[in-house]
């Protein structure tokens, strides 16, 4: 009995359709969230993340109907986020079917949001998403979909976020995101070692070897990817078989 490392497909949506882009830019259509969610659920994904990436950009309300439709097809945990700035919005997202909520920019602007969410839903339901960009010897926190710099150090912010009530960190390398050149294992290991909560590595995945590296050298508890799964360039089952063959404990559904 030991905890399996998790593979988490992510659906970046514009509220209703799945989109993809490089470095958070140049968005294009990548499919229907409900179809993709049902496929990942069947293929052995361990969780699913659905983000409304347009919400932060356009300040639009989130995409409750999409969450509702996706949740209908899932028998695995669902994390939803994008534009959650208040307890009221989070309640609506949870009522629509999300098991966890992820917050990013709003938590940087008002860290108390993490405590409010944690008090209401429990730390296990609060995922602090951090977009980190290499800055000298450390990493700087970026907000608004990676486009805006902050004065925060990513490692310090992650620690503070956990103190404030986050039960998990979704750590995206802004440098690697969309490049398919592999996870930033150095960033992931630095954050994962310093924290008492699980870390989900994100940004840059392409090959099974990238996942193996982020679970071993990067000490990630989970790894997230989007486009390689959407394109069917990588099947989740084959990825998990590869990881198990290389000594990483993963859940292989029957």
């Amino acid at each position: 009995m030991s905890l399996a490392r998790r593979i988490i497909p992510c659906l970046d949506t514009d509220g209703t359709r799945v989109v993809k882009g490089v470095h958070f830019e140049e968005l294009r259509d990548a499919g229907d969230p409900v179809e993709l969610a049902a496929r990942y659920n069947a293929e052995g994904a361990d969780e699913l993340v659905v983000l409304d990436i347009a919400a932060a950009r356009d300040n639009r309300p989130t995409f409750l109907e999409t969450i509702r439709r996706v949740a209908e097809h899932l028998a695995i945990p669902l994390t939803a986020g994008g534009g959650i700035r208040s307890l009221e919005t989070a309640r609506a997202v949870v009522r629509a079917g999300a098991d966890k909520i992820t917050v990013n920019t709003a938590a940087v602007e008002r860290p108390e949001l993490l405590s409010e969410l944690s008090a209401e839903f429990g730390a296990q339901a609060v995922v602090l998403a951090i977009d980190a960009k290499r800055d000298g010897t450390g990493w700087q926190v970026r907000i608004r979909g990676g486009r805006q710099a902050t004065a925060l150090d990513a490692a310090e912010w992650a620690l503070r976020g956990v103190e404030m009530g986050a039960g998990e960190i979704l750590l995206t390398s802004v440098d690697r995101d969309g490049t398919q050149s592999g996870f930033d294992t150095e960033l992931t290991a630095a954050i994962s070692k310093s924290l008492s909560v699980p870390v989900i590595a994100s940004g840059g995945a392409k090959t099974p070897a990238h996942f193996l590296e982020v679970f071993t050298r990067g000490e990630a508890d989970a790894a997230l990817a989007a486009s390689i799964f959407h394109d069917q360039a990588q099947s989740i089952r084959a990825l998990k078989e590869y990881l198990r063959g290389n000594g990483v404990e993963v859940r292989l559904p029957c």
């Binding site: 009995m1 905890l3 098991d99 008492s196």
Partner: protein, 201 residues
């Protein structure tokens, strides 16, 4: 099969309801004492802080009807906090009284491991049970918790481990409970819910 789902505002009520409906159960989500007192089968979901569950049950006057219904033989399934609430107390909310249907105290998992214990883990069977019938011994289940019940009692039918062993599945007469989330545990979780529905029928 009619199931009364105790809806005191827990985050996972909708997904438990969806999962039971998918299996053909007729689900009534309620926070009314008289419906709980009269129920033939009861599901107590829960996720988050155990104080939220206990205070919500007491604020709505649901503690006594729930204990009465279980006492007269209603099939009961506790999920996550719904398992922890069965014990006398929890370290998570030391001043509150649990339902006290099982002896012992729920404690925090050791700090040497990352908490919450979040993700998919396997079970070790202690003895045969209805809930784990036709479930493969290497099946994974989804957990999301930092506190857990001691595995010492004879109600324990399977344990899991994260830092220490803890109760993952228990059965004591008509009382059944799981620490993991069957509603989020894929096909293995659906089989556990199906087994509960059969045992309750």
């Amino acid at each position: 099969m009619k199931v009364t789902l105790i809806d005191y505002g827990a985050g996972n009520v909708p997904s438990v309801e969806r999962a039971l409906r998918r299996l053909g159960a007729q689900v009534e989500a309620t926070n009314l004492a008289q419906k709980i007192a009269a129920a033939q089968s009861l599901v107590l979901p829960g996720v988050g802080h155990c104080a939220a569950l206990i205070t919500a049950l007491d604020a709505r006057g649901l503690r006594e009807p729930l204990i009465e219904a279980i006492g007269r033989g209603a099939a009961f399934l506790g999920i996550c906090l719904g398992l922890q609430a069965l014990y006398e107390s929890s370290e998570e909310a030391p001043t509150l009284r649990g339902l006290g249907l099982l002896p012992g105290r729920v404690t925090r998992l050791p700090d040497e491991v990352k908490l919450p214990h979040m993700g998919w883990n396997t079970l070790k069977s202690v003895r045969a049970s209805r809930l784990l019938e036709s479930v493969s011994s290497d099946a994974y289940f989804y957990f999301a918790h930092s506190f857990a019940a001691p595995a010492a009692g004879n109600e324990t039918v399977a344990v899991s481990a994260h830092g220490r062993e803890f109760v993952a599945v228990l059965e004591k007469g008509n009382i059944r409970a799981v620490q993991f989330h069957p509603e989020k545990s894929g096909e293995a979780g659906a089989q556990v819910l199906r087994n509960f529905l059969r045992a309750a029928a």
